[in-house]
């Protein structure tokens, strides 16, 4: 079996030799939902008379979007989730464990060659581990849990070749913002996107998670990376197996090939209110920043916190700028404590909130005021996204650009501080 990674994985899970355009019913290895999408899934599963998941490696529910709980209404939703997971012996990652898209990989539920679905659009993140994973609605995830299977149209694949190496103080976030700016918000709709080339080979795993995470922002379904020593090392250092690594075969047919040069990449920023509204950081010089947010399933990993800490160490966040940090998981937070990263960030004036989604989705932990600007490492800058739609501008950037902007109080090129 060969073809693209998407073709190989969907073929292996449906017992055939499938090619782009085919519709298959594939066995699903693992499925997941979070606190914003679980109640609809639970209602559907209960109406089906669900007892236990039929997916090969089971399922999990993560309370991360409103965590810890901000209100009575949400508390009742969380109670419902806790009761359902307890009744059916389903693993629950409760308040403070972290973001679903960090916890699923950390717990070994998305391994190379796996097919994973989740009721969260950024489920494509696990592509960094050579898996095919995608976000779906709650009914689709309920169907996967109940039957162990799901129907898929085998997607065509775009090949993104990244030559050169990303320069100092520029990062994977800048690369993916650059790509989305070029491809646009619907330019890869339904496609599987495979990144390769020297710029990807030299990227650490945290950077690969960042790139795969944002593939959905150009509409993509999967974003499977190749399997290499870095993938193997990330898995083995956590005591996880290597799954069934999949390569894109020599006969793989790509619908489109795009080339990028990482060596001349400069820091990128997505301006309000769309993710593909991307410019070089220099063109926004002087734009006032009221809040800086470091975290999320895009950029809340250890390398992200380390990059920001390197810039902020022994310096002070500008007065009147709120610098909020939400580590992607308890494990990330503990590693950051051991390495002195937490202390460097705290001393600089940053405030930590619980591992989880933090203020990304606008329900708690950092809602901006009217007319304010936020520079954020998140993946979405839609109007109202952070809980206030009154002239709030959300600018998406790398951890380094967020840290540099927190220091100066205006959007700042991290190579200049």
């Amino acid at each position: 079996m060969a073809g693209t990674i998407a073709e190989a994985v969907l073929s292996a899970h449906s017992g055939g030799d499938s090619r782009a355009g085919d519709i298959v019913i594939a066995s699903v290895d693992f499925c997941m939902s979070q606190d914003g999408t679980s109640t609809m899934m639970i209602r559907e599963l209960e109406s089906l008379g669900f007892s236990a998941p039929k997916t090969a490696n089971g399922m999990a529910v993560v309370i991360d979007h409103n965590s810890p709980c901000p209100s009575v209404d949400v508390a009742r939703i969380h109670s419902r989730i806790r009761k359902f997971t307890a009744d059916h012996s389903i693993p629950l990652f409760d308040v403070g464990e972290g973001v679903c898209h960090q916890l699923v990989p950390e717990s070994g539920k998305a391994l190379p060659g796996d097919l994973v679905v989740g009721a969260d659009s950024h489920t494509c993140t696990y592509g960094a581990l050579n898996a095919c994973s995608t976000g779906l609605g709650s009914a689709d995830v309920a169907a996967a849990a109940f039957t162990g299977k799901l129907w898929f149209k085998v997607p065509g694949t775009y090949s993104m070749i990244v030559d050169g190496m990303i320069p100092e103080r520029v990062s994977a976030k800048d690369l993916i913002l650059r790509v989305i700016g070029k491809v646009t918000a619907d330019g890869a709709t339904y496609k599987s996107v495979e990144f390769s080339g020297h710029g990807i080979d030299t990227l650490n795993m945290d950077g690969r998670f960042t790139v795969a995470n944002m593939a959905v922002e150009m509409g993509a379904k999967f974003c499977p990376f190749g399997f290499d020593d870095k993938t193997a090392e990330w898995l083995s250092s956590r005591g996880l197996g290597t799954g069934t690594p999949v390569v894109s075969g020599e006969d793989a047919v790509f619908e489109e090939k795009m080339e990028f040069d990482a060596s001349d990449l400069v820091p990128q920023v997505a301006r309000p209110h769309s993710v593909d509204n991307v410019v070089d950081v220099s063109s926004l010089k002087g734009t006032e920043v009221n809040q800086a947010f470091l975290g999320t399933c895009t950029n809340g990993r250890l390398s992200d916190l380390e990059s920001a800490a390197r810039l902020l160490k022994n310096r002070r966040v500008k007065r009147d700028v709120r610098m909020i940090v939400a580590p992607a998981s308890r494990d990330v937070l503990m590693r950051a404590m051991d390495g002195g990263v937490v202390s460097a960030l705290l001393k600089s004036g940053a405030v930590f909130v619980a591992p989880g989604c933090g203020p990304c989705v606008g329900t708690h932990a950092g809602v901006p005021s009217d007319g304010e600007n936020v520079i954020s490492t998140a993946n979405r800058n839609f109007k109202g996204r952070m809980g206030n739609n009154k002239d709030v501008g959300i600018y998406l950037a790398s951890p380094q650009t967020v840290a540099a902007s927190a220091l100066t109080g205006e959007i700042t090129d991290p190579r200049e501080v």
Binding site: G21, D22, I23, V24, I25, D35, G36, T37, T39, M40, E44, S47, L48, H65, N66, S71, D73, V74, I77, G118, A119, D120, S121, T123, G135, L136, G137, S138, A139, D140, A142, A143, F146, T147, K149, W151, K153, A185, D186, T189, Y190, G219, K221, S274, V361, G362, T363, R380, F382, K383, G384, R385, G387, N389
Partner: protein, 175 residues
């Protein structure tokens, strides 16, 4: 089957994401779709939820429903009385979820449709028309997989009816 109602258009026209359809301010704390329906499209048109009538259509440009996977988006639109969304194209997750919950999506050129215009959508013949102006457009046939789900009342009713998936795998679905 024919659907009829008024067209509702928005700014922006393209890339209307699911945050705009139902904001996180509401969807995380309200679990009743009829309550959520009171807030649909609020961030880009605060009057919409009050003005929409049963049977009405949402009309948009490209990439409708992009962003978050929240199934509250198609469910709340349906609860608000929207009978179909007519757009030039749809984002992938929203596309699947809409058919999963029984909300038809119509893909065709929409530039010719004016705000407030009365429309008739003929799901059988694949035509959208505006009787007052005489303008019309054909839409791409609903793929067989999605049509089966729609006919069965959605994905979960489909599974209940057939005890699993009973889909035509020879079709030419796009997602």
């Amino acid at each position: 089957m024919k659907l009829s109602g008024k067209a509702h258009r928005f700014t922006p026209n393209d890339d209307i994401n699911t945050d705009y359809i139902i904001s996180g301010r509401y969807k995380f704390k309200i679990d009743d779709m009829n309550e959520l329906a009171k807030h649909v499209m609020e961030d880009i048109d605060p009057a919409f939820a009050r003005e929409v009538k049963p049977g009405d259509f949402i009309v948009a440009g490209r990439n409708f429903g992009c962003g978050s996977s929240r199934e509250q988006a198609p469910r709340a639109l349906k609860a608000a009385g929207v009978s179909a969304v007519i757009a030039k194209s749809f984002a992938r997750i929203f596309y699947r979820s809409s058919f999963n919950v029984g909300l038809p999506l119509i893909e065709c050129d929409t530039d010719w449709i004016d705000e407030g215009e009365s429309l008739i959508v003929d799901l059988g013949s694949g035509e959208v028309s505006a009787p007052s102006s005489g303008k019309k457009a054909e839409f791409s046939p609903i793929p067989p997989t999605m049509q089966t789900l729609l006919d069965d009342g959605g994905l979960i009713p489909h599974i209940k009816k057939h005890g699993g998936f009973a889909l035509d795998l020879g079709g030419t679905d796009r997602r």
